[in-house]
């Protein structure tokens, strides 16, 4: 089912690890060169910036080509005709993505990714126009409209399995959000259905993943598992979904406006409150046991979201200083954990360390610092700070928390 051979992907993973270790100085140059020769892959990939550019320009080409086709060959087509041609475009895009991988051996190259994404988009638009009548946002949607998100979910899952794009799995999860609105008008049932679907997916992924703990598929499954845990949490946290903070269940929002939490039955409402407190420890425990960074990160996120949404759940008044207290609490917890880990023998406790082991963090810190420089909210001033005239700066490297600095 997978478009890439296991040996090719395993080789690419080995090369990536090799680059990380060499970047951190764990390997000498001679060792690196020797191992590099043994990790030559037939797949063609590129760096993240070129990948994004190629993705963007492929999207532009496909979108403009489809638009040009409609303008030149089909002036004022009927909805059905436009839908049929959109379905044809979906097939063409998908075939092109397959060819790009099988012939040009592209791997996370941007081009094949954009083609696969376009095929999902054209499929949904084509089904909507060709098969289903009426607007998807109308107050009384056609029952056949169920086909659109269902097909989107299934096709996205197929692309995830075939190409291994984790964001295709995320797209499938988003399509699933649209489904319960077609089956039942009960908001509680809609939340329940989504949570059950995600939980089923989680059980399946966990079962499959156990066979791939030490191979190239583990990282992908780890990400998918983390997304499913997060999805389950968001499905049961009624405060987040009722505020529509996370674009939850958009069709219902479009049809019926934002839902008040009072619309839910009391046992269901308080049952979800219990669950949002139970889920974070479960996720964190699973993450720590598996030593899975993505799952641990999601565990931390859902724990924070529980703290954020607890007051609205209980109907308590929120104060303007709540975010400050939360920030101080999170900072204190982080510092405490770091120190606790560092005090362990050799700076390690139960296989965990606060020290950075991989160059991967450094790479993301480079990218992150660039992005944050553009999007950071402009800060409000503090009191002027006094600086020590005798200090001098130098040395160290980002990511070391100043530990290697000669400040």
């Amino acid at each position: 089912m997978r478009l890439y051979s296991a040996s090719s992907e395993e080789t690419l993973r080995a090369r990536k690890l090799l680059t990380d270790w060499a970047g951190e100085g764990f390997l000498t140059k001679a060792q690196y060169q020797l191992l590099e020769q043994e990790t030559v892959s037939d797949l063609r990939n590129t760096n993240i910036f070129l990948r994004l550019l190629l993705f963007l320009f492929t999207l532009i080409i496909v979108g403009a080509a489809a638009g040009l086709f409609f303008v030149v060959f089909l002036s004022r087509p009927s909805e059905q005709t436009a839908g049929v041609f959109s379905l044809i475009f979906a097939a063409v895009c998908y075939a092109a993505a397959e060819v790009a991988v099988s012939q040009a051996r592209l791997y996370r190259y941007g081009i094949e990714e954009a083609l696969a994404v376009c095929s999902v988009g054209f499929l949904c638009v084509g089904l909507q126009a060709a098969v289903v009548s009426g607007s998807p946002f109308s107050p009384r949607p056609d029952a056949a409209q169920f086909l659109v998100p269902a097909a989107g979910a299934v096709f996205s899952l197929w692309i995830w399995r075939r190409f291994g794009f984790s964001y295709a799995f995320l797209a499938a999860m988003i399509f699933v959000l649209f489904l319960p609105g077609y089956w039942t008008s009960s908001h509680s049932a809609q939340h329940l259905i989504v949570a059950v679907v995600y939980a089923t997916g989680l059980a399946s992924v966990a079962a499959v993943r156990s066979r791939h703990r030490f191979d190239y598929l583990d990282e992908g499954y780890s990400l998918v598992e983390a997304m499913l845990w997060l999805g389950i949490y968001l499905a049961i946290n009624l405060q987040l979904s009722s505020l529509n903070l996370l674009s939850w269940n958009l069709p219902v929002w479009w049809w019926g406006g934002i839902r008040a939490t009072s619309e839910f039955a009391r046992p269901f409402y308080w049952g979800t409150w219990v669950l949002i407190w139970c889920l974070p420890p479960v996720v964190l425990a699973r993450g720590f046991r598996q030593k899975d960074r993505f799952v641990i990160a999601v565990g931390a996120i859902v724990a924070t979201l529980t703290l954020v949404s607890n007051k609205p759940y209980l109907g308590w008044q929120r104060h303007t200083w709540d975010p400050m207290l939360l920030g101080i609490l999170l900072t204190a917890v982080a510092v405490f954990i770091r120190r606790w880990l560092a005090r362990g023998p050799g700076g390690v406790r139960h296989g965990f360390t606060a020290a950075r082991l991989s160059g991967k963090d450094k790479h993301w810190m480079n990218v992150g610092s660039n992005v944050l420089g553009l999007v950071s909210p402009q800060s409000i001033t503090p009191e002027p700070q006094t600086s020590d005239a005798g200090v001098h700066f130098g040395g160290g490297h980002s990511g070391g928390g100043g530990a290697s600095s000669d400040f």
Binding site: L52, L53, L68, V335, S369, S376, S379, G402
Partner: protein, 212 residues
């Protein structure tokens, strides 16, 4: 992990100051001075703890002191914005280069350059979008794209290749499509130029960009 904690602490600091200012008006509305002092604090923390996230915060606070915010860029008075943006780019770029030359956290230079490049490209593009007198800005954009591309390829920093491609494409497209309303021409333009860009980028990728 401490890098993230320090960044979180800096953000909390900002939130607390915002609260104090909003609730008690302790800073008497001197937002410009506030931003400058805030930038100084973040620069101090960034250099003390060797943290590029906080350096980014410092650079954006300093940009705020210069009056630069993305949300205000579309204001009709954007000529003044452009001047401040270019002044900001010159000062930050020269400052970053001097610090690098003196050996003070030379690895921070990339962050300085990235922020400077983006602010500069925004400023130049806003000039290209002008209805009149855009020729000089287009020339400046063209030169900046060439410089960014050359720097990115020579230093193998592909973020700069991406800036040159995206900002350059947007600028050139706005020039070519100025006043064109025919759908066929516009869509045809995007197909042809998109393919050209794709071929160019694939060639660059083959020759230079195996890994980030």
């Amino acid at each position: 992990m401490f890098d993230y904690v320090l960044y979180l602490g800096s953000l909390v600091w900002s939130v607390e100051l915002a609260y104090l200012e909003k609730r008690f008006n302790v800073l008497s509305g001197r937002l410009d001075f506030d931003l400058l002092a805030s930038a100084v604090l973040f620069f101090f923390l960034a250099y003390r703890f060797d943290n590029r996230f906080v350096l980014s915060l410092g650079l954006s606070s300093l940009a705020g002191w210069f009056g630069l915010t993305v949300s205000h860029w579309s204001d009709p008075q954007d000529a003044a914005y452009r001047q401040y943006a270019i002044l900001y780019c010159v000062l930050v770029g020269v400052g970053g280069a001097l610090l690098q030359r003196r050996g003070l956290k030379p690895h921070f230079f990339g962050t300085y350059l990235n922020v400077v490049a983006n602010v500069l490209f925004w400023a130049l593009l806003s000039g290209v979008f002008n209805r009149e007198g855009y020729g000089l800005w287009f020339l400046a954009l063209f030169i900046a794209c060439g410089a960014s591309l050359a720097w990115g390829l020579r230093r193998r920093q592909f973020a700069f290749v991406a800036y040159a491609a995206v900002y350059g494409y947007v600028g050139v497209s706005s020039m070519f499509l100025r006043g064109v309303s025919d759908e066929t021409v516009v869509l045809g333009y995007f197909v042809v130029t998109g393919v050209a860009m794709l071929v160019l980028l694939v060639q660059i990728g083959r020759r230079f960009g195996r890994r980030a």
